[in-house]
Amino acid sequence: MKIFDVIGFALSNFLRRKARSALTVLGVIIGTAAVVIMLSIGIGMNKGFEDQLSSWGSLKEISVSEKYGTYNEETDEYEENTSRVPLDDITLDDIKALDHVQAVKPGIYGYGAYLIKDGKEKCSQGGIETVDAATMADFEYEILIGRLLNEDDVGTTNFVMSYNIPFNFYNPRELGENEWFAPVYTGKNDTELPFDPLDENIKYQFTWWYGYGEQPMDFSRPRIVLEDAKCVGVLVQDKASVENYNQDYDFSIYMDGKGYRDMNDRLQKNRNKYYGIPEDEASTGTVYFVNGVNVADNTVEGRETVYDYLTVLVDDTDEVIEVSKEIMDLGLEASSQMDTLEQVQEQTKFLRTILGAIGAVAFFVAAISIANTMVMSIYERTREIGIMKVIGCKLGDIRGMFLVEAAIIGVTGGVLGVGLSYLMSMLVNKLASGGAMEMFGIYSSESAISIIPFWLDIVAIILATVVGVISGLYPAIRATRLSALEAIKNE
């Protein structure tokens, strides 16, 4: 028998008992829709957490800092780490050498350098944040005008502004008596920039003196040297860096790490000279106090801390946890959004399992319904099956007819069930818009509670078909075992 004929027979049998077929299909529709909806809520929850976390920073990034000490739970005391691994170029190279590490951003909080525009306007808001100019493009910086830093900017003072910086220049001499700062603008992308930051005619300079332009100069001291710099680009609004996640808006000026360190050395020397501090007493280079501890102390092999933090970019989200562990093995602190995500997923796993189980039960009921329908159908068609056997229908073809009929029920139910689940998903999302996600501790406003990815549709339809065929298996085999003679005698 040709396969088309087998399908034709199955189809005509399916259509013969319309009411019963429709009811069986309805069972499969409900089963499929239940599974899809339940899974889609689980997926929606996960997506919600991910959205929320990635709004705090990329899921592929790991923040690395030094390990100053640990809190001992037994003694209830804080134990200082006396052989601390500092964030210096050796550590940087160690981390770069790890597998799956795509790029490392050497971060220095460059507060204390003020940007001056055309020698008279000043921006007190922006702090310098260092990046590795060569790998800046790997991180999630989005350029609005101009370009990001690149290899050519390594070791230079070229910089990229965050969107808010141009709004924050003010002329100290034009302020009223009680005004220390000009109004702070928190620009939006749709706001036009007050001037073109990339204009060749604008002269940018950095100074170390916070009172520059605001307080009278002491001309008895050596001249304050201003460092020339060039702006190459402006970022889009609201692309806050990992370190800035507590801020609403990004106020950073991004500069190459090496370029910044050199500039900072020069600024420090100028400052020492201005205040008359002898070279040997003055500390050159970058010296920071963190938690009141001089970071130069307690380091392994007397190495010096160079960077405040490192941001490690991993090439694959799935490797983040592993790379984090390896970094911790180096004696450093490492944290990532993936840690949190994994924790949260672990916590909601139970809930998702329950949802899945509810769907599975519905599906199981549908499967029983298919099997029941097919068995009933065999009782009804006993005589026909017998006639077909006597006339010479092969057993395989009889089995095929019943399996195909069961598969037709499965496919029809699966396809319609997926359709229904889209409808229900829309309804759930509409009803639950706002509010509902907070039930699960998700505060990301854009996330939908139910998300149906395309693969779920395909899987659901395939599953429904397979369940149909499996449910049809027993009745089909039963049909082939019917005695032709008995079947014919059956009046």
Binding site: S12, K389, V390, G392, I488
Partner: protein, 294 residues
Amino acid sequence: MAEKVVPTAKPVIVIKGLTKIFTLGKEKVAALNGIDLEIFPTEIICLLGTSGSGKSTLLNMMAGLEKPTKGSVTIYGERIDKMSERKLALFRQKNMGFVFQSYNLLPNLTAIDNVSLPLAFAGVRRKVRTKRAKQMLKLCGLGKRMKHKPTQMSGGQQQRVGIARAFVATPKIVFADEPTGNLDTHTTIEIMEMMVRMARENKQTLVIVTHDIEIAAYADKIYHIIDGRISAVEDNRDKQIIPASSTSAEPEAEQQKNEDDKPSIRSADDEISGILENFSIETEDKSENNTEEE
């Protein structure tokens, strides 16, 4: 004239010591009691007996629908009683046609679809088999009822469809179990003549089971069966009823036949006959491929 049976030809069906014992509660009832029988090609034979004589059981065993308790049924050298269900289905598909007392048409199929069923099982393309089924129905005088379903037809018409179905694939053997049991006398004659004529024209072996001596009169040979035994064999050739070679039950069919220059079943569709003759159990796949050729 009907063809003479050649006694020296190799028998088509050979039955040896066939015994069937049914167990009813504690009692054992012998339905068949050591039957020996040989049926030759193109023979039309009749198993004549009363209800409960075992004639139907004998037919069922020839068709492989029941297994004997003892003895053997050999058709074309193949042991039917030892064949698997799978093989039997194929064997029936290729070699056997059936006409039943209660017609046994599929209720949801039209006359055309019912008739083309054996061809569908053999894997013949829809277009070819529908054409063939239409020819068969015309030959059986149902040219105007092709799209009717069994419930829309009279008993005689249903049995014509049943005969068309039995003969459509030109099987070598046709079994008819009380083919006219549910029909009036007039229709009985029409049906019997049609069946016998077709068997003759196609040189087929026809085995008729009946309790009606009137029907037995169409056979070459009559086996009287009583209590599971062949009590008498009667050579009926001298006094048998011989239907006219081109009698038609309905005027429309006759007209049709005349227009078609009196087609015989054999020549009606050589394509299918060829296919089915080449068809054998051992070369199942190959045969199916043949049917798929455009």
